[in-house]
């Protein structure tokens, strides 16, 4: 579900001067032509490292993202919602699988990535560190968090790395129903009974601040960002994504009679830009570094699932098994 494009730690720009200039030129020419990079191609270290980190975090976000909505799987009201939510959460696990495979083509094993997730070493999208208190919360997530993810994913699908593009193609196709389902749920609640409307409004009020954090802090153009944009690793700035999201979805939220907890939120008709109260980036930093309401629970659940499944994996492992990275 989460679209990536954000890396939550800053990377040291490995000296490009160390890279073979001829190979680097060929590599950059290929990207400029619009051709994709495939796993066996030569690539600069910075490109490889950045992509592993980005795709890996995207994968973790999918796996962890399955947990807040999964909170409501057993309680979905009615057959239609029950089936849809089961399928949606399943898709998230599936997307995690696709993305881990894509990251593996760059040289990191899935075991290693899963270890880094549960140890807290690798990050995932911050929004999943918040609790889904009610059914309406799960509907908010299904609609608007997915919408945010799709903004990122559509941007990244035009990126330069072949395996990531292939994974995103499949993911975008499957996401189509997620967004529609989420919107459908919110429409029903917002236009439904008094209790339903109140439940939905409370959820919106609760989730709007984390949603404003979703695309990350404003990113000033640094030398670092410039190279990553040149290599089509970073496809759009955080600000651009956020603006796109607000433009597409705030009107849809308002048309349902739902209020957003930000009196400054408006579209400046002259600039075409949305204005809003600057989100609390200190809170964002706190939560992403482990101090959010659900961080501990999310990782504990993943850890326990791994631990309790260990006997299964151990039993099935053949003694002569060999590791081979996925080809594409």
């Amino acid at each position: 579900m989460y679209g990536g494009g954000n890396v939550f730690e800053s990377m040291k720009a490995t000296a490009l001067a160390d890279e073979d200039p001829i190979k680097l030129a060929e590599f950059e020419a290929r990207i400029d032509r619009g051709e994709k990079i495939e796993p066996k191609d030569w690539m600069p270290q910075l490109y490889r490292k950045q992509l592993i980190r980005m795709i890996e975090q995207h994968a973790h976000s999918e796996i962890i993202g399955a947990l807040p909505e999964g909170t409501w799987i057993t309680r979905a009201p009615g057959f239609k919602r029950k089936m849809a939510l089961m399928a949606k959460v399943q898709d998230e696990v599936g997307h995690g699988q696709l993305l881990y495979s894509a990251a593996e083509t760059l040289g990191k094993s899935r075991e290693q990535m899963l270890d880094d997730l549960v140890s807290g070493k690798s990050k995932y999208s911050n929004i999943f560190n918040y609790p889904a208190f009610t059914w309406a919360d799960s509907c908010f997530i299904s609609w608007l968090v997915d919408a945010g993810a799709i903004v990122n994913q559509v941007a990244n699908s035009k990126g330069s790395y072949g395996p990531y593009c292939r994974a995103l193609e499949r993911i975008c196709a499957e996401e189509a129903f997620h967004l529609k389902y989420g919107h459908h749920c919110v429409i029903h609640l917002a236009t439904g009974t008094k209790i339903q409307q109140e439940m939905m409004q409370e959820a919106v009020t609760r989730w709007w601040p984390p949603m404003m954090h979703f695309f990350g802090p404003s990113d000033k153009i640094s030398v670092h960002s410039e190279i990553l944009m040149k290599w089509k690793v970073k496809m759009a700035s955080n600000d651009e994504c956020r603006q796109q999201f607000l433009d597409m979805y705030v009107p849809k939220i308002w048309e349902l009679g739902l209020k957003l907890p930000d009196d400054s939120l408006r579209k400046n008709t002259e600039t075409g830009q949305w204005e809003f109260t600057e989100p609390d980036w200190e809170e964002f930093k706190r939560v992403i570094n482990g101090d959010g309401p659900c961080n501990e629970e999310r990782l504990a659940v993943r850890r326990i699932a791994e631990e309790r499944g260990r006997w299964v994996r151990k039993a099935l492992l053949a003694p002569d098994a060999k590791y081979v990275a996925p080809l594409a």
């Binding site: 796996i63 399955a66 947990l67 999964g70 409501w72 799987i73 057993t74 309680r75 979905a76 009201p77 009615g78 057959f79 919602r81 029950k82 089936m83 089961m86 399928a87 959460v89 399943q90 998230e92 696990v93 599936g94 995690g96 699988q97 881990y100 059914w135 749920c185 029903h188 609640l189 439904g192 009974t193 209790i195 339903q196 659940v301 699932a305 309790r308 499944g309 260990r310 006997w311 299964v312 994996r313 151990k314 039993a315 099935l316």
Partner: protein
């Protein structure tokens, strides 16, 4: 056509699938391996989806809407066998239950494909393929884990011994066995059980697991007529928690 007899048959099938599908959906996100997590979730969806189809036939026969049937009845009104309502435990129990139950389901749907009652025959023919995959999955897992390590074998054996009395409850006789057979609607639980025993034993022979001696196992019955374990009502309360906030609302 004896409508009461047919409803009896439909209810037990639909309730089994709903409750077991619901239980299996609890594994989504918590499975032992990503790919297996995905597979298990698909099978849970299949079950819930199948139960929906059976409730629709019941609705056509004059019973309430599917959502009402699923989300508004209490435990004593449910006709699932007790096996399906037991908590998931660890993966060994869930796999054993999946193996024992789905083996019976496939045989049941193969039998029902010949039913004189057309709606059931059509639906059974349609979903047979789905259930076939479920048994393929179960057989492969039981065969592999049942011959792998000391731990996997002993876990499966314990679960098998624990589950067997409940599994025999699948075949609890209906009040309408004779009618259903006479009318050509369904050959009956006795035939189903016999076929099932042979198939289960056949798979277990290919493992290090021991088939329990059936004549020494006391079947745990009652589910078909509303006698359930303590696990069912909490399951139903949870399942219907949001729906019952307002059953007349459109969710």
């Amino acid at each position: 056509m004896n409508t009461e007899a047919i409803k009896d048959l439909l209810y037990k099938i639909a309730d089994d699938q709903l409750i077991l599908g619901h239980r299996n959906s609890e594994w989504t996100g918590f499975g032992p391996l990503l790919e297996e997590d995905i597979a298990f979730s698909s099978m849970a969806q299949d079950k819930v989806g199948q139960s929906w189809q059976f409730y629709k036939i019941l609705n056509e026969l004059g019973e309430s809407e599917p959502d009402t049937l699923a989300f508004m009845r209490n435990a004593e009104q449910f006709h699932n066998c007790q096996l399906t309502e037991l908590p998931n435990g660890e993966y060994d129990f869930s796999l054993i239950r999946h193996f024992l139950f789905d083996t019976a389901e496939l045989i049941r749907f193969n039998m029902l494909s010949e039913s004189s009652y057309e709606p059931i025959a059509l639906l059974s023919k349609k979903i047979k393929g789905e259930v076939k995959y479920h048994t393929m999955h179960a057989n492969i897992w039981i065969k592999q884990l049942g011959s792998a390590t000391e731990e996997s074998i002993s876990r499966l054996q314990k679960s098998l011994d624990y589950a067997m009395p409940y599994a025999l409850g699948i075949f609890e006789a209906s009040k309408f066995e004779a009618t259903l057979k006479q009318d050509g609607v369904f050959e009956g639980e006795v035939v189903l059980k016999t076929t099932w025993l042979a198939q289960v034993a056949g798979i277990l022979e290919q493992t290090e697991l021991t088939m329990p001696s059936i004549d020494q196992v006391q079947p745990l019955v009652g589910g078909r007529y509303g006698n359930h374990t303590d696990h069912l009502q909490p399951l139903l309360d949870e399942m219907s928690e949001v729906f019952q906030v307002d059953p007349s609302a459109d969710w």
